[in-house]
């Protein structure tokens, strides 16, 4: 399908990730739970966000993202986003990353589906970027980085035709085709049905460039209108709003892509899998058996020394911090899938301030240097990207 999907995937899903992490870390700070060691202070939160933003918008990373390449599989994409999250001092265990990823996926899927016209996908991306810029507004250096990246993105995508942008959107939709995780905030706002499908409204403004349905016009051979008739449109549409801005700064008009977690509680980030089988991962893996992505994952595993990174969460040096408020949430292992009665799991982001992280990163970096002396591995899609991320 389209070879230009990766920047939009990473920026939009990365943006959603930052929204959620920001909200969770703020919630932790506001509970004032001093009984937990290694609680997250305001400075810690800012540091985590700054680190992730610095990696996500770094020049080298953006260049790598923008190379023409096929659609990443779910697994490969999740690897990239997990690595992004772990460029900060924070560590998320696999279960937490699972839930975080579910939220990110469903939010972006919702934005993709409800995007009024394909070009509005750029406005949605700009909304994410604008919000991230606001999160790091105390750091002029990061703001410059973000502005540069945004300029590049707009340069790349704005000249594309509506047909090409629709093709990109169709490619992105294929990635989320069979994902129907229910999210409390969506269910509460009635934008998602109990079966996990999103509601497509038949009211509201039509997309920019479209007319309100309901009119037939007839023309003569000289092109003059000779007759017109109206018909009931079946919906409740009104004229389109003004067009959003495609500049680095400006009013995007659309609300899609803005931070919906600003005024929410932890209740709203509950997710549950609507599929009856415990096979969500299997579904994701089977939809796009992309052999190239598998190769790149194998390489990633080698580069990172297997899955050792995950064990840091239980290492004695690290401090486990529960980012959610109630003890019940702490005990709750997560989503129970399978069984007819869907149980509402809670995102339990176990984050660790890892004092060993610098040591670990140094170790990985050293391994990378050693490997470079060996015969060159066959280059794979994503190899350069992932290798370069380790240097961030």
């Amino acid at each position: 399908m389209s070879l230009r999907t990766l920047p939009l995937l990473v920026l939009n899903m990365g943006g959603e990730m930052l929204y959620i992490l920001d909200q969770r870390l703020r919630a932790q700070h506001e509970t004032d739970d001093k009984t937990q060691r290694g609680g997250w202070s305001e400075d810690d939160r800012k540091r985590v966000l700054n680190d992730i933003v610095r990696s996500m918008f770094s020049k080298a990373f953006m260049e790598e993202l923008m190379k023409p390449q096929g659609l990443y599989s779910q697994r490969a994409l999740r690897c990239v986003l997990t690595r992004l999250a772990h460029t900060s001092i924070m560590r998320l265990n696999p279960a937490s990353m699972d839930r975080l990823y579910d939220l990110m996926m469903m939010a972006f899927k919702y934005q993709l589906l409800l995007c009024p016209r394909p070009r509005d996908l750029l406005l949605i991306t700009c909304n994410h970027v604008d919000a991230v810029r606001d999160m790091v507004k105390d750091s002029p250096c990061l703001i410059n980085q973000i502005n540069d990246a945004q300029r590049q993105i707009l340069e790349m995508y704005t000249p594309l035709s509506d047909g090409e942008l629709q093709f990109i959107r169709q490619t992105l939709l294929s990635l989320f085709q069979d994902v129907h995780v229910r999210v409390s905030i969506f269910l509460k706002e009635k934008i998602q049905n109990p079966d996990g499908r999103f509601v497509l409204p038949t009211s509201g403004p039509v997309p920019h460039g479209s007319d309100v349905p309901g009119l037939i016009r007839w023309f003569n051979s000289r092109g003059r209108e000779v007759r017109r008739r109206e018909f009931p449109s079946g919906g409740c549409y009104c004229s389109s709003l003004r067009e959003g801005s495609f500049d680095v700064a400006g009013d995007r008009v659309t609300r899609l892509g803005t931070n919906m977690y600003c005024t929410t509680s932890s209740e709203d980030t509950r997710t549950s899998d609507s599929s009856k089988n415990t096979c969500k991962t299997k579904q994701q893996a089977s939809v796009h058996p992309n052999p190239l992505a598998k190769e790149e994952l194998n390489l990633l595993a080698k580069l990172m020394g297997g899955m050792e990174v995950w064990n840091l969460a239980s290492a004695d040096g690290g401090v486990k911090v529960n980012l959610f408020l109630s003890e019940q949430e702490e005990d709750d292992g997560g989503i129970s899938s399978g069984g007819d009665e869907p149980a509402f799991g809670v995102i339990n982001i176990q984050a660790t301030q890892d004092h060993q992280v610098n040591t670990e990163l140094t170790r990985i970096a050293e391994e990378l240097l050693v490997q470079q002396d060996q015969p060159e591995l066959p280059s794979n899609k994503g190899d350069d990207l992932l290798a370069m991320m380790d240097e961030l």
Binding site: Q177, I216, R217, F219, G234
Partner: protein, 331 residues
């Protein structure tokens, strides 16, 4: 106004429909009282064979195969049956090329690989837009804007690429052949692209371009040709009716609030269906008045109950029995 349709029994497909233009193809096999349906899901085609009495359904999946590769991960862009006088073929288009199968999907009879560059460029390569034309041609569109014309013998696998039509400069979105059955129509084929440009052709040893109707910077995602009239659905949700040979615009309908994904027409009754991302399918009635040779349009809407089902708007209700205005609802 009398209702122009009624709903029949629904048929469940094995997996979800991908978000692609014109993603439902139908083949009626009258001697066996069967109808075949295909819907593309990623790199697989879901096929359902349904008996006309509504009692028997049989499902199978056709995996995309390319050249010597047993199964391919390359995503399928479109699957459509091509009905020729002597045989029916199932044609699949993907990023790698064009596959043609016997109508039940059992045997691949032809494979055409697209020219793909060594290193990926930003412009994706794929084939999209399939039409059977007259007695022996199958035409397929390509992302470069070319239209490939294949010469199909009455049996066997000796299918050859006989011509490449180079008029479009944007990726082809859809193609359609004249479906009224009338031999008087001059135009045989219409092709549409992402810029909304429509090309009207006459088939033959060398295909002849009869008219090139300019677009208005909006992708035309679905097109039909009926009694010489081009019916085109656009990304803006508009449907336009042009006279094919002259390019005169007959009518313009503000039909949908969002991108139109599919059109279909019942050739004997002039019932037209349009389906769009706004989750609605609309039924229209077209008549051609002989004195003025103009096309009349009047419409009704079909309310889709399953608003929340993500990809349903991209499937099209197909009019199966034009004499009786019946159709099947598929989800």
């Amino acid at each position: 106004m009398a209702k122009m349709y009624h709903k029949e029994k629904s048929i469940q497909i094995k997996s979800s429909a991908s978000a692609l233009y014109n993603n439902l193809s139908v083949l009626r096999i009258a001697p066996r009282c069967l109808t075949y349906f295909t819907v593309v899901h990623a790199n697989v085609v879901n096929m359902v064979s349904a008996s006309w009495d509504g009692l028997n359904y049989s499902h199978r999946q056709l995996q995309s195969k390319e050249g010597n590769v047993a199964t391919s991960s390359s995503l399928i862009m479109q699957a459509a049956w091509c009905v020729l006088p002597s045989r029916d073929l199932l044609v699949l288009t993907s990023q790698k090329g064009i596959q043609m199968y016997e109508s039940d999907g059992s045997i691949m009879v032809y494979w055409h690989a697209l020219d793909t560059p060594e290193t990926p460029t930003a412009q994706a390569v794929f084939a999209r837009g399939i039409a059977a034309v007259r007695d022996k041609y199958i035409c397929v569109g390509v992302s470069s804007g070319s239209v490939l014309v294949f010469d199909v013998p009455s049996k066997g696998s000796n299918i050859t690429l006989s011509e490449v039509l180079e008029e479009h400069t944007e990726p082809i979105t859809d193609m359609a052949s004249e479906c009224s059955g009338s031999m008087e129509c001059i135009a045989d084929l219409v092709s549409a692209d992402d810029s909304g440009t429509l090309c009207v052709w006459k088939s033959g040893g060398d295909f002849q371009l009869l008219n090139k109707i300019p677009g208005f910077d909006t992708s035309c995602s679905s097109v039909k040709l009926w009694k010489g009239t081009v019916i085109a659905g656009y990304g803006t949700g508009q449907i336009r009716l042009y006279e094919g040979v002259t390019g005169i615009l007959h009518a313009e309908v503000n039909a949908h609030a969002r991108w139109i994904y599919s059109l279909d027409i019942a050739p004997f009754t002039g019932l037209l269906l349009s389906a769009a991302e706004d989750s609605l399918v609309r039924v229209w009635h077209l008549t051609i008045s002989p004195e003025t040779n103009n096309v009349e349009v009047r419409g009704q809407k079909v309310w889709i109950q399953w608003l929340a089902k993500v990809f349903i708007p991209f499937e099209l209700f197909h009019i199966l029995s034009p004499y009786h205005h019946k159709f099947k609802c598929i989800y």
